[in-house]
């Protein structure tokens, strides 16, 4: 019995050690999760984004604009210390890596911090969204890096 217990303990310890750092998107809990930048609760889950540092810390944001503000304006994290960034496909609410996403910028589109940028998993759904709204500009990740945000003023 003792042997079994110590085996179990050893197993737990080893499992704990060998467990690789996970960079999978975390689930949003709107009761307690708030945006790292603007303090707003992540009530509009479909607009939320997340960022993992290389250390494995996860930072949550309520709007894509806030995530860019965190990196570029507040300089809370250097780009080379970022492991991965996730944004939502507004249509399916799936998490997608930011480099693979397509974005629509339309200042009239509502987003939690009024940045007017929403994200999609494919160029088709981004185009579809522009057609629905009758207005908007489709951007890929490289183009989004050049985008001038509202907070840049």
């Amino acid at each position: 019995m003792k042997k079994l217990l110590s085996c179990l303990l050893l197993f737990v310890i080893i499992a704990g050690c060998s467990n690789e750092q996970s960079f999978e998107p975390v689930e949003i809990n709107p009761e307690v999760d708030v945006c790292e930048v603007c303090n707003m609760s992540l009530s509009n889950k479909d607009y939320a984004t997340q960022l993992f540092s290389k250390d494995g810390d996860v930072f949550l944001f309520d709007d894509i604009g806030c995530m860019f503000e965190y990196i570029d304006k507040d300089q809370q994290i250097a780009r080379e210390d970022i492991e991965v960034q996730y944004v939502r496909d507004l249509k399916t609410t799936d998490w997608i890596q930011i480099e693979n996403a397509y974005f629509v910028y339309n200042p009239d589109v509502w987003t939690p911090m009024a940045n007017g940028v929403v994200s999609f998993g494919s160029e088709e759904s981004a185009n579809e969204f522009v057609q629905e709204q009758g207005k908007g500009e489709v951007l890929n990740y490289e183009q989004l890096l050049e985008h001038k945000w509202g907070w840049e003023g």
Binding site: P30, E31, V32, C38, N39, S41, S43, M113, A114
Partner: protein, 451 residues
């Protein structure tokens, strides 16, 4: 002849009088409806200026109002939607809706009990909203008066509810004496200017009053209680927050007042009591915080990041677990003449001007450590930290970058009624002290005589 003349004048006068009395009824008819009638049909047939009076009953229909009319419900009128879209949609100008109970809107983000799509000069008064996503949604409209409504949203987690009064775009609204319970945000203003909020109450919701990109807003005498955050002011300019009651925001992420990236604000005469954090400022410019009671919060005052040009005087800090958490750069918390009352301040007022002779230091090295290592909160009030803080106080240069040079030795009297209480207590104290005095004199006298 004289008699005849008088009679004629009398007749003319009567005719004029009747004409005067009759003229409004010619222009605006009172249309009365009962439960079998369709309200929409009455609206379609009504003329501008008409008043439709609805008798008690449950009306299961959705309404669109496209002309300037008044819809008035007698007691017990329920307008019930089918759970999709808006219950009442306003597209015209000058619509008045009064005394209705509006229920069961759709649950899309924009759905509402009353949806004002456009126009101006609407009055929405004394209605009750139940199970509506947003109670009242005002879209790019101007000069509306919203008073005396009671609003609760759908019964779901706050992230899936709508706001009590959601105002997007437009300007010049008066929002008074409404009660919002279990909504997302009591009043949400986005890209709106010139709004007067007075005497509203928001209970058990996410944010009491939530301003985004708002300008020229006055919020006075409102009550925010048991929400996540009482006042959430973000990216807004020229906001006056006067004489509000902000109490019991005890959520783990909760604040009494949170101000983020805003300019030109005034907070005066507010009672900010029993919140997780009383007042928190982040990236603000020109904030004037004067004569507030900041009491019994877990953290009284918090500054995050760079805040410029803050005036911070004559506030009473009483019985907060932590008075302030200020971890950024150097900051002076008084205006050079007068500071604030801090109940943990202990020094003497030698020259009797009501201002203590030593500066009050807000924030310690421990606070700075907490910023980097939040888990160190565990050691709060532990002997080692107390010893540390005591030692620190001998070396002011170590930590005194946030300070109040003119701390008050007595709390500021904030309201007239508390002054009255003070005098009563003084008389009581006098009587008791006199009793003690006479008793001790008696004891001494007795002692001298009988020993």
């Amino acid at each position: 002849m004289r008699h005849f003349c008088l009679k004629e004048v009398g007749i003319i006068f009567l005719i004029v009088l009747i004409a005067l009395m009759k003229s409004p009824t010619v222009q605006a008819a009172d249309i009365s409806l009962s439960a079998e009638d369709s309200i929409q049909e009455a609206i379609n047939q009504a003329l501008t200026g008409d008043t439709i009076v609805i008798q008690a009953g449950i009306y299961t229909e959705e309404l669109t109002i496209d002309k300037s009319i008044t819809l008035r419900g007698e007691e017990g009128v329920v307008i019930e939607g089918d759970g999709e879209g808006n219950v009442i949609t306003i597209v015209g100008d000058g619509v008045t809706i009064e005394g209705l109970t509006v229920e069961n809107s759709g649950t899309e983000k924009d759905n509402a009990g009353i949806y004002v799509q456009e126009g101006s000069n609407h009055v929405i008064k004394d209605n009750v909203f139940k199970d509506t996503m947003n109670g009242i949604y005002i879209n790019k409209s101007t000069k509306n008066v919203i008073t005396g409504n009671q609003i609760s949203s759908v019964s779901d987690h706050f992230s899936n509810r709508g706001s009590g009064i959601f105002v997007y775009g437009g300007s010049d609204h008066t929002i008074e004496e409404n009660v919002m319970m279990r909504v997302q945000d009591g009043v949400y203003l986005e890209s709106v200017s010139n709004v007067h909020l007075r005497n509203n109450a928001v209970l058990g919701s996410r944010y009491g009053l939530h301003f985004m990109f708002a300008e020229d807003v006055v919020a006075e005498e409102n009550q925010m209680k048991s929400n996540i955050t009482g006042l959430m002011i973000m990216d807004s300019t020229r906001i006056r927050v006067l004489n509000n009651e902000v109490i019991e925001q005890f959520h783990v992420r909760g604040f009494g007042v949170l101000i983020y990236e805003s300019e030109d604000l005034q907070l005066e005469g507010n009672e900010i009591r029993q919140n997780s954090t009383g007042v928190s400022l982040e990236k603000t410019v020109d904030v004037d915080i004067t004569r507030n009671l900041i009491s019994a919060n877990q953290v009284g005052l918090e500054f995050i990041g760079e805040n410029k040009n803050n005036i911070f005087i004559e506030n009473n800090f009483i019985a907060n677990v932590v008075q302030s958490k200020i971890s950024n750069n150097k900051m002076q918390l008084d205006n050079g003449e007068v500071g604030n009352y801090w109940d943990d301040y202990a020094s003497f007022d030698i020259n009797g001007d009501g201002i203590g002779e030593e500066m009050y230091k807000a924030g310690s090295l421990y606070d700075q450590l907490l910023e980097k290592q939040p888990y160190w909160q565990f050691f709060f009030e532990s002997p080692s930290i107390k010893l540390w803080s005591q030692a620190e106080s001998f070396f002011p240069s170590l930590s005194a970058d946030v300070y109040d040079e003119n701390p008050l030795v007595e709390p500021i009297q904030l309201a007239d009624d508390s002054e009255k209480g003070e005098t009563v207590r003084d008389i009581g104290a006098l009587i008791v002290s006199m009793a003690f005095l006479w008793f001790s004199i008696l004891l001494i006298w007795l002692g001298r005589h009988y020993t």
